[in-house]
């Protein structure tokens, strides 16, 4: 049985201060790393002969407009099927410098997940084979999941905000 402590110590041993912020919300090992080290960290976990973390469960983004200097976060959920061990990695990005290397060379399923994150937040994935919008219409010129944009359609004219409590 792999424990969070064991994996955390191994990562600190290999990557020293490039990985930080270790915590265990609800039992899931979570830590932060930098954009330069994210692919080496993923590769280390993939190639590790014992851990064999070879399943990318999820890849998504979050927007924190209040955290200056770390407005965007890219969150990876990984799973080692052999040991039934899950972990979460977060990478924080500044809003003026929103790009991060792609994970598609390691995991093919990251392809669409990165396109979706780009579509919603505008986070660019360097080296992605085809980084275009996937869910929204191609002509859309803003990134809708960012907190500054409203949920409702800005061009609608029949629903009065006052009647809908907005």
């Amino acid at each position: 049985m792999l424990s969070n402590k064991e994996v955390a110590e191994e990562l600190i041993r290999v990557f020293s201060d490039e990985v930080s912020g270790f915590e265990e919300p609800f039992g899931l090992l979570t830590f932060h790393t930098t954009r330069q080290q994210i692919i080496p960290v993923l590769q280390h976990l993939y190639n590790h002969s014992y851990y064999q973390v070879r399943f990318l469960t999820d890849l998504t983004g979050i927007h924190f407009p209040e955290q200056k200097g770390a407005e965007f976060a890219v969150v990876y959920h990984l799973h080692s099927l052999i040991h039934n061990f899950r972990l979460r990695i977060k990478v924080f990005l500044d809003k003026d410098d929103v790009h991060i290397p792609t994970a598609t060379n390691l995991y093919s399923c990251a392809n669409w997940m990165e396109r979706e994150t780009f579509d919603f937040y505008g986070i660019e994935f360097d080296g992605h084979p085809k980084l275009i919008r996937i869910l929204n219409i191609e002509e859309m010129d803003y990134f809708p999941m960012r907190k500054e944009y409203p949920l409702e359609d800005p061009t609608r004219d029949d629903k009065i905000d006052a009647l809908f409590g907005r």
Partner: protein, 410 residues
């Protein structure tokens, strides 16, 4: 006469019987977004070399309803209605998966009876989902009769949903902390009757397809994928199990008392369409087994957790007791705050690992809610699975993958 005869230089002479070079170009075939194999709207642009598919590219997003953005506006109990509409063939699984995520965040312990009732409804939903998938696979390969037989059973499942929650398809079943009402005697009677009347129908359905020569010729070795490629593409659920990997979230990270039940995980060998069909059939048998065990061992007790801040009190208490009135007001007006934190919870949906990543900042609505939707992730592998096959094979592969448009685009 010599000026009409062309002298070919020696090095350009073709040997006798050589075929001239044919200029070929690929045709582009647009499969979708509206196509008769009614699986939802997504488009595949296929490059064809005559009859064979060379490559393909998908366009999705034709039913993008911005669930994740809506979820940032709705209180926790209103998001259940959104989760219904993701994988709409098996709504209770989505509902309970969401409720379990919130219960994990709030650290609310759901009593055993409610957990068993949830298991029964989730397994019924899994049977309903596989009925649609396998029935439509039959329709797409030309066999309409099997579909009609099993859709009757789906109507009976709808009746059971109505007994529990009142709705047929988009169920909004359960509440945060348990169920909204106990299983009535009528519901238990209907479920027992279903466990007795479904096996003959499923056997008949299997007799129509399993050893049917035409069906086997159409589906064996069509759309296969190896276990390594499947894991690389993030496959989960019946599609991954057909490729040979026995990964089932119910066994690996058990939730809602699944560890109390005894069931097998059917696993295929080559990951082709026939294996996916057989894995889903066998999963329906295993789901029936789980339902029977849950019904036989249904424990007594409350059907909701003792968490008055999150679970609406009974109406008669609201009219008579002061605390219940205050809690009712606070819950409905949204003045109860959730704890700050982030949680990821996964359930075994009809298509695979359905995950909910919830980031809460303490308000009444989530700060960020992300759905890990299995259809979205494994549909990426579709062009690779279709390479070198014909259009009819491509249609069969799409139906056997069970891509549900609501889950694809969310």
């Amino acid at each position: 006469m010599s000026d009409t005869i062309e002298i070919v230089p020696k090095d350009k002479l073709q040997p006798a019987g050589a075929q001239p070079e044919l200029i070929s170009e690929l045709t582009t075939l647009n499969l979708g977004p509206t196509h008769p194999a009614t699986h939802g709207i997504f488009q595949n642009i296929l490059q064809m070399d005559g009859e064979k598919i060379v490559s393909g590219e998908q366009t999705i997003g034709y039913i993008h309803r911005a669930f994740e953005k809506i979820a940032e506006r709705r209180p926790f109990y209103q998001i259940t209605t959104l989760t219904d509409r993701m994988n709409y063939c098996s709504s209770p699984i989505n509902n309970f998966g969401w409720h379990m995520t919130v219960e994990k965040l709030l650290q609310v312990e759901v009593p055993k009876r409610a957990q068993y009732i949830r298991v029964i409804m989730m397994e019924l939903a899994r049977i309903a989902d596989h009925i649609v998938c396998n029935g439509i696979l039959g329709v797409d390969s030309g066999a309409f009769t099997g579909f009609l037989y099993v859709m009757q059973k789906r109507e009976e499942i709808y009746e059971m949903y109505e007994q529990v929650c009142g709705a047929r398809l988009t169920t909004n079943m359960g509440r945060i902390g348990g169920m909204e009402r106990d299983l009535s005697t009528e519901a238990i009677r209907k479920i027992r009757e279903f466990t007795k009347t479904f096996p003959p129908v499923l056997k008949e359905f299997e007799k129509l397809f399993n050893r049917n020569r035409i069906f086997m010729d159409r589906t064996i070795d069509v759309g296969g994928i190896t276990a390594e490629r499947a894991l690389d593409y993030g496959f989960t659920g019946p599609n991954l199990r057909a490729a040979g990997v026995d990964y089932d979230v119910r066994v690996m990270n058990p939730y809602s008392s699944y560890e109390d039940f005894e069931f097998d995980i059917p696993v295929g060998q080559s990951g082709d369409t026939y294996d996916r069909f057989m894995v889903r059939n066998e999963e329906m048998w295993q789901s029936l087994r789980i339902i029977e065990q849950a019904l036989d061992n249904l424990p007594e007790g409350p059907y909701y957790a003792d968490a008055p801040e999150y679970y609406l009190p009974a109406k008669k208490d609201v009219y008579t007791s002061m605390e219940a009135l205050i809690y009712h007001f606070k819950i409905v007006m949204g003045e109860i705050d959730a704890p700050v934190g982030e949680v990821y919870h996964a359930v075994e949906g009809g298509n695979g690992e359905l995950g909910f990543y919830l980031v809460s900042d303490g308000g009444r609505a989530p700060y960020r809610l992300h759905f890990r939707r299995p259809s979205f992730i494994y549909y990426q592998a579709y062009p690779e699975m279709c390479k070198g096959l014909t259009i009819s094979d491509a249609i069969i592969i799409m139906s056997s993958l069970n891509v549900i448009a609501g889950e694809l685009d969310a």
